[in-house]
Amino acid sequence: MTTTLDSPRRKASAFLYRKPRLRLGILLSAPMLWLGLAYLGALAALFVTAFWSTDVFTGQVVTEWSLNNFVTLFSDAVYRTITLRTVGIAALVTVVTAIIAFPMAFYMAKFASPRARRLLVIAVMTPLWASYLVKAYAWRTMLSGNGVLHWLLNPFGLDTPGYGVLATVITLSYLWLPYMILPIYAGLERLPNSLVDASGDLGARPFRTFRSVVLPVTFPAVVAGSIFTFSLSLGDYIAVKIVGGTSQMLGNVVYDNIGAANNLPFAATVATVPVVIMLAYLAAVRRTGALDNL
């Protein structure tokens, strides 16, 4: 026995074999450090900063604990308005992308040939390869008072919505659509065809099958997609700056407080709002099983 354990490598390996917990610890230390320090640590730092304030002239952070930032956040009506607007935009974007994505994902998962399916997945991903800014500015041009939309809709007595909340919803829906299609596609792929067939055999019409079989099974996948579109919209501040006209979202308030006022603590306070909203949202969707679909 001792003759086979002579090399240090073997010794170490035998040692680790006898200590499964240590083995696991070493294996997980890098990802845990990353998650704990870089990721959750940053969130914790953010939350701590929210209780501090700034010296008005020199712009230095003053490390004295106070709730003043939160008092401002809750007492000023403007932040309530902005929060509601942001949540409204995020919810609308989610609904719009879900409605557009579902038929697309359904076709990809159930009807397209394997070759067409691959091409369609690539087609869905292509917009992700282009720069966010280019896409947002393209929408700015299209939504302009004499842009493509105006030209297309004018013959029907309609007009471009112009820059504003609606334009923001359109642009964000375009930007986040792939993040909705792909999870739904994955969910639909897992739906056994036999279930659909069985529903038909039992006399259900297509709509009934959709409502009673397809939708319940794929709903968690839709919710999984909505986590992406909702949280991405919640934190966005660029699209609204480009096509939002005079409107602003939570991200703009954070950005202005960092970029213009150098008021990091108040920016941190505002930044906790989307975190809290997302936590509430995740808690609400946890029961649907959507988190298993991520």
Binding site: G59, V61, T63, K241, A260, A261, N262
Partner: protein
């Protein structure tokens, strides 16, 4: 488990505390109210030049220190490096606030500071007085740019004036008639151009409203649009709230504004000369004017870091950047008025100085240059407290709704 979490939080908190204390050292020396609202820390200017130290770390607005890496044709750094042996390391910043916090690291030797940053840098002791006798080209610089409130304190110069410009009233000549001469087209509730107005997206825009009220509501007693007490500030904020529904959009990116003017989504607004030139060159009929009330604007100053170990190279850079050739290149590339009159002979476009009103002191005097609003009133009042920039920012969020 609970204890471990607590320990982690504690560790993080301690780390942040250390970081915060580490940078706050310089602020303790700053700012008791004095002649200009504050008294800067006592620092001496360089007495004489020594041997070049081999490098200089430059903190600059984008486009102020081009070394040909963006565009081989745009380069006024390489020649300087060859001539002086000072290697130039450039760091560009996007906002004045970013510049202020970067300067606090002490890693930069020179900085191109706008008026809304320079006072803060002086007050916190991050920059030191400049011995202008060691900058030969300083003698050529327009007199009306020297020893102004944003580049000097009690007649001690803190840097070399570099370039300036105004936030102009701009309109589409085909959509706006007659040609406006007053900011009323943007602020009057009955403006015929409501819904087609574009305004600058920054808290500092509150000063534009204050400037308008200075003429149109003299009873408020506004003397300096950057020194507003409660009542004056509220009036400016109210004016902007009334303006908001008339605004098509706020701009912070001049290309976005140019595009809005081109497409006709905006027909009147506040703009920089460079925006006007760009929009015109792309075929849209726009004109701009310095309205009867005057305008806000910017005036930049190259300053020397107090902790700089490369003083000789820094002074050589200061001298180079206001030399006729380099000053002309920057002014033309960035789209502003040069500070050195001799630069006008060096510009590629011979009309540049005329377009940008270089040397036009009467024109320049109508501009209220960006300055950081602080609690001590910049107009010298001591009986009231003025609104500081933090409050300006909060109000700006509220105005936009």
């Amino acid at each position: 488990m609970k204890n471990r979490k607590l320990a982690l939080a504690g560790l993080l908190g301690a780390g942040l505390l250390v970081a915060a204390c580490g940078t706050s050292g310089s602020s303790s020396t700053a700012a008791a109210p004095g002649g200009q609202g504050f008294t800067p820390p006592k620092l001496d200017a360089l007495a004489q030049l020594g041997q070049p130290e081999g490098q200089v770390n430059v903190l600059a607005w984008p486009g102020y220190a081009e070394n040909g890496s963006n565009d081989p044709a745009v380069d006024w750094v390489t020649g300087f490096e060859k001539e002086t042996g000072c290697k130039v390391n450039v760091k560009a910043f996007g906002t004045s606030d970013e510049a202020v916090s970067l300067m606090k690291t002490g890693q930069y030797d020179v900085i191109s500071a706008s008026g809304d940053a320079s006072l803060r840098l002086i007050a916190s002791g991050d920059v030191e007085p400049v011995n202008t006798a060691l900058v030969p080209n300083y003698a050529d610089v327009f007199d009306f740019l020297k020893n102004r409130p944003w580049n000097s304190v009690n007649n001690v110069s803190y840097g070399v004036p570099h370039g300036w410009g105004a936030n102009l009233l701009t309109w589409r000549t085909d959509k706006v008639t007659p040609a406006p001469t007053s900011w009323s087209v943007m602020f009057d509730a009955n403006s015929p151009y409501k819904g087609k107005i574009t305004a600058y997206d920054s808290p500092i825009y509150i000063a534009d409203a204050a400037l308008y009220l200075q003429t149109h509501k003299p009873e408020l007693g506004i003397k300096n649009p950057y020194a507003l007490d409660d009542k004056q500030f509220q009036a400016a904020v109210d004016l902007l709230k009334q303006q908001r529904p008339m605004v098509a959009e706020y701009w912070s990116d001049y290309l976005k504004e140019s595009q809005a003017l081109k497409s006709g989504d905006a027909v009147v607004g506040t703009a920089w000369q460079v925006t006007v030139n760009l929009t015109k060159s792309e075929g849209a009929p726009v004109e701009s004017v310095l309205p009867s009330e005057g305008a806000t604007g910017w005036s930049d100053t190259w300053m020397v870091g107090a902790k700089s170990p490369h003083k000789t190279c820094s002074y050589k850079w200061l001298n180079h950047i206001v030399s006729p050739k380099a000053n002309a290149q920057v002014a033309e590339y960035f789209g502003e008025s040069p500070s050195n009159p001799k630069a006008c002979a060096e510009t590629k476009n011979k009309a540049h100085c005329e377009t940008f009103h270089a040397g036009d002191a009467a024109y320049a005097s109508k501009i209220q240059y960006w300055t950081t609003p602080i609690a001590q009133c910049l107009d010298g009042r001591t009986d009231v407290k003025c609104k500081d920039y933090g409050e300006w920012t909060r109000a700006w969020t509220e105005i936009k709704g």
